[in-house]
Amino acid sequence: MTESAVPDSLAVRSRGTGLKLGRFRDLTLVPVIILLLIVGSFADPVFMTTGNLTNVLQQQSALALVVLAEALVLIAGKFDLSLESTVGLAPALAVMLVIPTSAGGFGLGVPVALAIPLCLLIGAAVGAFNGFLILRFQLSAFIVTLAMLIVVRGLQTGITGGKSLFALPPSFLYLGSATWLGIPAAIWITAVLFAAGIVVLRFFRTGRALYAIGGNADAARAAGIRVERVTWVVFVISGTLAAVAGMLETGRLGGISANQGDGWIFMVFAAAVIGGVSMDGGKGTILGALTGVLVIGLVENILTLKGVPGEWRNLVYGAIILVALMISRLAGGKAQD
């Protein structure tokens, strides 16, 4: 009798359909991507060529890795703004340790082969330090990483004297500039790392632990998940990913400017959030974040091809992100958070 059709319980019961949509929530941006591809091919005949599309992917690979890193942190319910500065500092400091003074380095004579490991290590160290401040000192992730964004960028400007580094060892540039099987190595690397991210977060306990922590940290702790340790590891991994991104970007451009990565974090958040990763933690997928990156990349490419003047770029760019947000909101049917 008490189970009879009553208003309050009816309201909750629409879940059957909600779930089926939910399964495709990762893919709510697919219509946007298709729309962009159509618009792009009408806008410029060059757009739909393999060369152009490969170019889009290569240009976005570094940004994509930072989005991957940020998505991990966001899903675990934290924040990392400092990633964009790590993109600059990690390759710059690593390279300066191995190149001679004449090329702008420290002239320490560290073997050139160590440049890449050092770069990754520096990224990991920045992530570990963020984690230390946030977890041990219990500081707000937002403010800590905002300060670290400034500190890390400042460190890079300090050691390089604000100058760009050009005389780089070829081995360091290799991964960012090489082509494997007709496709740039950077795309391969990014694809492999994304695939790993998708699989780990979908099919492994450690990956699912991120969702549990971001969704309800107390519940995760009660379930025996080592919340602090896992979160710390996430910060270290995302720092490392940012360093990889920095290395690929360095290889693509052939040099490290003082502002490499500067301002990326806005695009990174835009890509992650339109891709369905929640700023509140516990929601979103790596595949979704990837579609977010693709949207950003395609928009940028179309704007370049159409020759939109530089001073109007930001306006169009921002507006298109807002439209993408609205479309994914309508397609996903759930309130954004």
Binding site: V12, G18, R205, N216
Partner: protein
């Protein structure tokens, strides 16, 4: 007391301090296998601390916990703890963004290697079936209602193989029929030999499902006895340490010609309630009763403007209120205590003074400035009036116990001497004495001429009402004058009435 068989669970000489406060002082509990054992005590008696010690979340400073005579496992071995004791905490440990299936097997989705989602869902369905939980394993846990979420937690807790389960205030957020269903389930579990520890503020529930009861007071163990040997009055005495009578409501004369201070006509909201007319006069307390799905809370929230009705009119103190406009309702002279005090009732980090004077801030100073002194003075009077247990008006409300926080919410509602007051479940999760001061404050306000609409799941609360409107499936079906019998009211709420 001699224990003939080995206790299922025993805590001996437990002392636990948090900084300067002693949460448990040489307290203990003995629970025999197969019984449902109640743990009662006022807010701050140490119940929650005992729960976290019995479940291995906290280490006692002194004393030990024994399971079936064996010493408890080390705190780091969560799995060992979970095989011995399961707990449904007061605070939900469900992760809303994950599916029910994943919540059931959180952090043990697989032994090793990748997760097989199909197998996981199958295991989840099997587990839900085993405990007769009618919930779709694929749905998001965040979409479940409180009752379903609790059942999922119980199923998960038992799935570790524990034969001892702690239920920490499971009934606090459930309505009447859901509580009945929960009790039915608890009796089933008991028949299957599961030992339970049950915590509740509702003493009548203790008599309904428990065989023995342990009372804690001021961090100490006071008494353990079979429920049959401890009648209601003695139980209350053990909890409070003094003789207390059940709350006596005050008799009032209702002036039939008194001004109508809150009225609704033709009010309707799809799937909640329809065609509701009501009028509350100055100096009158009108109760609003009904099951959880009757729409009573939705109606009350529409009256204060928290919910926008589809149609109909609301007037407060003679002023017509635009639907869904809280500010206008407050301005017209309405005060309200929302259902969920944590959500809508107070700002936890702000002080008592700030929280309680929020609606009258404009009266405490000129040109948008707020005088700290005057605010403090007002808050101090409120603290005295409502007997709020606090270190002073500067203490953040988030640090207060449930009952005292609720008093702050009520103080805020009464701050501007409202003409009409809407109170939703004021005594939920509140202990006996706090309950009395809350109800007393409502009655005092009525004596000063306020007209009150009291929405409650608690029949005891409704005793102070001059008449009770009963809702069933979104309609007001009955207007019961003072002096009703419990059976009549419950029958009307369940729609059994002619």
């Amino acid at each position: 007391m001699t224990v003939t068989e080995t206790a299922a669970v025993e805590a001996r000489g437990i002392t636990k301090r948090f900084g300067p406060t002693v949460a448990l002082n040489d307290a203990g509990i003995v629970i025999t296998p197969g019984e449902t054992h109640a743990l009662v005590g006022r807010n701050g008696a140490g119940k929650s601390t005992l729960v976290s010690i019995l479940t291995g979340l906290q280490r006692p400073d002194l004393g030990e916990v024994l399971f079936a005579g064996e010493p408890s496992p080390p705190l780091t071995d969560r799995d060992a703890w979970r095989r011995r004791v399961a707990c449904v905490y007061q605070k939900s440990t469900i992760i809303p963004s994950l599916t029910v299936a994943e919540n059931l097997f959180i952090n043990r989705q697989t032994e090793r290697g990748p997760i097989n989602w199909r197998a996981l869902r199958a295991r989840a369905r099997q587990l839900l079936d085993q405990y007769g939980v009618a919930v779709d394993a694929d749905s998001l846990a965040g979409d479940l209602n409180v009752e379903e979420r609790q059942l999922v937690e119980i199923a998960r807790a038992l799935s570790f193989g524990a034969r001892f389960i702690i239920l920490d205030e499971p009934t606090a957020q459930l309505d009447g029929p859901a509580i009945e269903r929960l009790f039915e389930r608890m009796r089933d579990l008991r028949n299957q030999g599961v030992t339970m520890m049950f915590i509740s503020h509702h003493l009548e529930e203790v008599y309904q499902v428990c065989q023995s009861v342990t009372v804690f007071r001021d961090a100490r163990h006071v008494v353990t006895a079979p429920v049959a040997d401890l009648p209601h009055d003695e139980l209350v005495k053990a909890m409070t340490g003094e003789e207390t009578q059940a709350y006596e409501s005050k008799a009032r004369e209702i002036d039939g010609g008194a001004k109508v201070v809150l009225s609704a006509s033709g009010l309707r909201l799809k799937d909640r309630y329809e065609d509701v007319d009501l009028a509350v006069r100055s100096g009158e307390i009108v109760g609003l009763a009904g099951s959880g799905s009757s729409g009573k809370v939705g109606l009350a929230e529409s009256l204060v403007g928290l919910r926008k009705p589809d149609g109909g009119d609301v007037t407060v103190n003679g002023t017509a209120i635009r639907p869904g406009d809280v500010t206008a309702a407050l301005k017209a002279g309405l005060g309200f205590v929302p259902q969920d005090r944590h959500h809508e009732g107070f700002v936890p980090l702000l002080s008592i003074a700030e929280n309680a004077t929020m609606p009258i801030a404009h009266k405490l100073g000129r040109f948008g400035m707020i005088s700290g002194e005057r605010r403090k003075a007002r808050a101090t009077t409120m603290i005295q009036d409502l007997d709020i247990k606090t270190t002073g008006p500067d203490q953040p409300v988030g640090d207060l116990s449930g009952g005292n926080a609720q008093k702050v919410v009520l103080a805020r509602a009464l701050a501007d001497s409202p003409a009409a007051l809407v109170v939703i479940n004021p005594t939920a999760g509140v202990d006996v004495k706090a309950k009395q001061s809350l109800l007393g404050a409502v009655e005092d306000a009525t004596a000063r001429g306020t007209g009150v609409l009291l929405v409650s799941d608690e029949l005891d609360d409704l005793r102070i009402c001059d008449r009770v409107l009963v809702m069933f499936h979104g309609k007001v079906v009955k207007d019961v004058p003072r002096g009703w019998s419990e059976n009549d009211l419950v029958a009307a709420m369940e729609g059994i009435d002619s």
